[in-house]
Symmetry: C2
Subunit: 469 residues, 2 copies
């Protein structure tokens, strides 16, 4: 089909406001926010509802037009950017923004896929409930994108990934049929778990158009602490103790190495360490509960014992919400500090928590052997076994050297991750960024199973081609 | 292939002890424990490890022999019983009983699929951790069976279903290939969620041979209470309040109607109501925490306010573990009391919690209109929206009348469940029991997706034929 006929039929389905044809207006849809992925498109299509998504998908199915689904376009792995062919349609969900139902008795919220994550958090707060998914991009990412990538973030330790927060889905299949799986049930054992097949499939099996999410009791407050320790083994031991003593009150346990903290305090004005001395590793700890009586005492007592036992060297418990916020700013500032300091070669990896310290020791040694002098920025959600294990290159590194070092470092680190039975993409997904590496690290049986499922659900290979698989 | 050649090759793979050929010895494998499902088999095969399972599956694949996987054979829906053809092999996992690893730092346990659930609970306790899956059959069901049916039970409110407790799986595919997905990771976004496709698939896609399970902090104790209320609306309102006030401490919220309690106290000696008067509905409530300081006060205060607000009419908080156990015996005694009283037509259903009261009112009316005089035994895990909504027939009901009433009642109740967007099998699965009903209540799109997945993973349709789909 000619491009002109395709766009005219798209216009017929979604109207003038629903199709972006002007190349300047297409810019925000065909480049990713990191500035790394760039593409072209026949048209950006922005349906208003599931019926329109279904009609667009039927058209693309009939005309063999490849489709790139897109939410808030805040991904880290290039999964929502079209290729350079100009033959792909970008299907943006950003006009599907309705929250259909908030049910505080069933503790569920039903929404369109295009709703901004922060708006969902807000709607939950409005009925005195809590939606725990939280990440840096929450002001612009959509819940549909969170679902497509099974987003993680800072709430995973207590509440799980996006997958764990989801009860039901609505999905438009590649041929335009609609699967209505919008169930608001805690139990349903009537067949295969289709929902979890679409969650984390990065738009390669269908378009998620709606969701039923779990809501939780709103915490009455939080207590935040900052600790310094000599090594990662001790940080993990503290995590383990607090998990046993505090149970689900432990709502965050974030780690940062000394160079990570130094980078933040050096690069970002107004950011200072809460402790007088420096230590090789730090942890940011948070307890939250529906009833905060005794919770601060519990954390202080646990940390006092940890100091007595020489697990940690020093600690400070925030005495105000302002102090809590300052501590979180140190953790959240790392990404920006990295950007200011140079080019970071990044690894978003997960390991069994019991292997974290041994992995980091071997990885640090390997980086120093093979790439002497490069600073290692090791931080992350270690309560989930998730490290952002990054290596800094200077700001003025040449492009060719950057590309080669990135590939070499990725291989070095990901080989080691695989030795320790870890994951080479803990929360950022595969997209185009890790697609080739996937083949290297997955077993052939697992690749065969994934490809078989892809062929079954998307036989014409029109859904987000070149991503994930 | 002749039956004799098949058994000789099976004997070659698993040895004399691994094949049961004597019909008398086969009895426990070809009948279900409810006495409802009966079948015949070529041979019961009991491999010792994954390599043997793989060899058996390769042989069955080559010889087009259908396979019925079986764990502890404690299912409620006939999903583990061979048909009457005598052509199916029963593949029992009951010799695969090794717990390979218990990791209290990573909070994980790795085990063979044939390990008894109670042994997994015990292994967790041994390292001061908690594995929360708990159900009546825990002394004889296997974790593999729990996975194949996504078992629920009494711990779902706080910890989720079996699916939510699982990090990794090992599966032998229908052609004998082994998928090693035994990952002990909290985060892993590297492709499709294969694990959740096998969980709950009732042995129709492959044989689950191994699992990595999540462990949790061991609770330091529990507080149990029993309340009486005028209606289900109030019971649900109390549930909702306690969820908001107590957060994850609320570890159980079970409901039983007045006829359910009366049945237990009448049929089972030594079972008495904890309250002086009778009320239309009762709830059994439990709080548990890693630190029990203030927890009993919290429950007592919450119930006092509920009495003041006339949500509930009376309550008693257990003052000893013995009192807790007595309360739980009333809840657990319902199944046995039903057996003694007559034939129960059972429904294992789930509804949005906000619809429970309206559903029960309409269902009670419908049963009384269409089947006057039959007692309704309504009880269940209402914290999960899961009702066991049963109707008693007299002990001496004729078989033909029983069969017809069962079919009519099932249709009446399940039609209503579907109107309320509920599930016709909350935790017991589909098996042969609900297979025909599945087609009635699922959309054609959902049936098509499930059948497409089945055809992809089991193209020769050899895995547990006649079950689920």
């Amino acid at each position: 089909m000619k491009q002109k006929e395709l766009t005219s039929r798209l216009l017929h389905i979604v109207g003038e406001e629903g199709v972006v044809l002007n190349p300047a207006d297409q810019e925000p849809y065909v480049n990713d926010w990191l500035g790394k992925a760039h593409g072209r498109t026949v048209a950006v299509v922005r349906p208003r509802n599931t019926t329109e998504v279904a009609a667009v998908m039927r058209l693309c199915h009939q005309t063999h037009t490849p489709v790139v689904p897109q939410g808030g376009n805040t991904g880290m792995s290039g999964g929502a950017t079209p290729d350079m062919s100009g033959a792909q349609v970008v299907l943006s969900l950003n006009r599907m923004k309705r929250i259909h139902d908030v049910d505080p008795i069933n503790n569920t919220l039903t929404a369109d896929a295009g709703v901004i994550l922060a708006d969902i958090q807000q709607a939950a707060r409005h009925v005195d409930r809590y939606f725990p998914l939280s990440l840096g991009a929450e002001g612009s990412c959509t819940i549909g994108g969170n679902l497509a990538t099974n987003a993680g973030g800072t709430g995973v330790l207590r509440y799980g990934n996006t997958r764990d927060l989801t009860l039901g889905l609505e999905v438009v299949l590649p041929d335009g049929r609609v699967w209505n799986g919008l169930r608001a049930l805690r139990k349903d054992n009537t067949g295969y778990d289709l929902k979890d097949l679409f969650i984390g499939s990065e738009g390669s099996l269908g378009i998620i158009t709606g969701v039923v999410l779990k809501l939780f009791a709103a915490p009455a407050g939080r207590v935040t602490a900052w600790v310094g320790a000599q090594n990662l083994t001790n940080i993990v031991a503290l995590l383990n103790r607090l998990q046993a003593d505090c149970g689900p009150r432990l709502s965050a346990f974030e780690m940062m190495s000394a160079p990570s903290l130094a980078l933040v305090t050096q690069q970002l004005p107004g950011h200072a360490s809460p402790l007088d001395k420096t230590y090789p590793y730090y942890a940011l700890i948070e307890l939250a509960d529906t009833n905060m009586s005794g919770v601060q005492d519990m954390l202080q007592a646990g940390l006092a014992v940890a100091i007595e036992d020489a697990l940690i060297d020093d600690c400070v418990v925030a005495m105000s919400e302002a102090q809590s916020i300052s501590m979180w700013k140190l953790r959240e500032g790392i990404s920006m500090a990295q950007v200011k300091a140079g080019k970071a070669v990044k690894h978003d990896i997960a390991l069994p928590i019991s292997s974290l310290a041994r992995f980091a020791a071997e990885a640090d040694q390997a980086v120093q052997d093979d790439f002497p002098g490069l600073p290692i920025i090791n931080f992350g959600h270690i309560g989930d076994g998730n490290l952002h294990y990054n290596v800094l290159l200077p700001l003025d590194v040449a492009y060719e050297d950057y590309a080669k070092k990135t590939a070499d470092l990725n291989k070095r680190i990901h080989d080691l991750v695989t030795q320790f039975n870890g994951s080479i993409s803990a929360e950022h997904g595969v997209g185009t960024l890790r697609r080739d590496e996937l083949r290297r690290y997955k077993s052939s049986v697992e690749m065969d199973l994934m490809i078989a499922i892809k062929r079954t659900l998307d036989p014409n290979q029109l859904m987000n081609p070149g991503k994930l698989l």
